[in-house]
Symmetry: C2
DNA sequence: TATGTTACTTACTTTATGTAACTAACTATA
DNA sequence: TATAGTTAGTTACATAAAGTAAGTAACATA
């Protein structure tokens, strides 16, 4: 285990490479959304979504807002840090458009 | 499980989000390297590295070249498809520089 | 003959994820 | 008042993926 790779870059990948994380952020780039919306939009299980949203909150990338309506409405939205991943995700999208074949 | 997300993008993420894949590609952006070099540079286990390199070959992103020396030397290098991920990885690097704190 | 080299593979353990049922805190309906 | 319905989770259990460490093939050198 050498240390030839930038630790910030490694940290970034350790966040983004966790399954579902990038898709959750991509989804939230469309605007704030509630738990069940994210769940059904990207097909992640509630168990993992819950885990990821907590991680992303800890990383300061996502904000959780409780609206005291009935039934309770909880909104997840991106912080500036979360939003700033947009160019990277767009680059991945461009790569996909050019290199990934449609199924 | 809706289908609101571009399938090409999802496919791209399913490749890139597999643990170690992005780091392997990032490492190979420096030039072709052999198995044990990649292994020690990024700290991936041989078991998984072997698996990932096979996947990446199947996806047409990595080429495996055998040099009949003693002991045998096997070089892994990026194809155009693999190399073209550079802008996306650079964007992640930029994001990391701006937003990830040094430890 | 024993040791060293690279590039793996195999067997086994630990961790991560998927699945589906369950809970809390309410409201609406019968 | 009991029953069912809502969202946002959590829990327990099963399966899949990754880590660990030893083993193998095919050579060469000491």
């Amino acid at each position: 285990m050498d240390q030839t790779i930038c630790p910030k870059f490694e940290k970034a990948l350790s966040i983004m490479n966790k399954r579902w994380t990038s898709l959750i952020i991509f989804q939230l780039l469309e605007g704030s959304q509630r738990f069940c919306e994210i769940e059904s939009a990207i097909g992640v299980s509630g168990r993992v979504l819950s885990e990821r949203l907590k991680d992303l909150e800890k990383e300061g990338m996502v904000t959780r807002t409780v609206h005291d309506e009935t039934p309770v409405r909880i909104e997840y939205s991106l912080t500036d840090k979360g939003h700033s991943l947009k160019p990277a995700l767009n680059q991945i999208q461009s790569w996909a458009d050019e290199w990934v074949e449609a199924e």
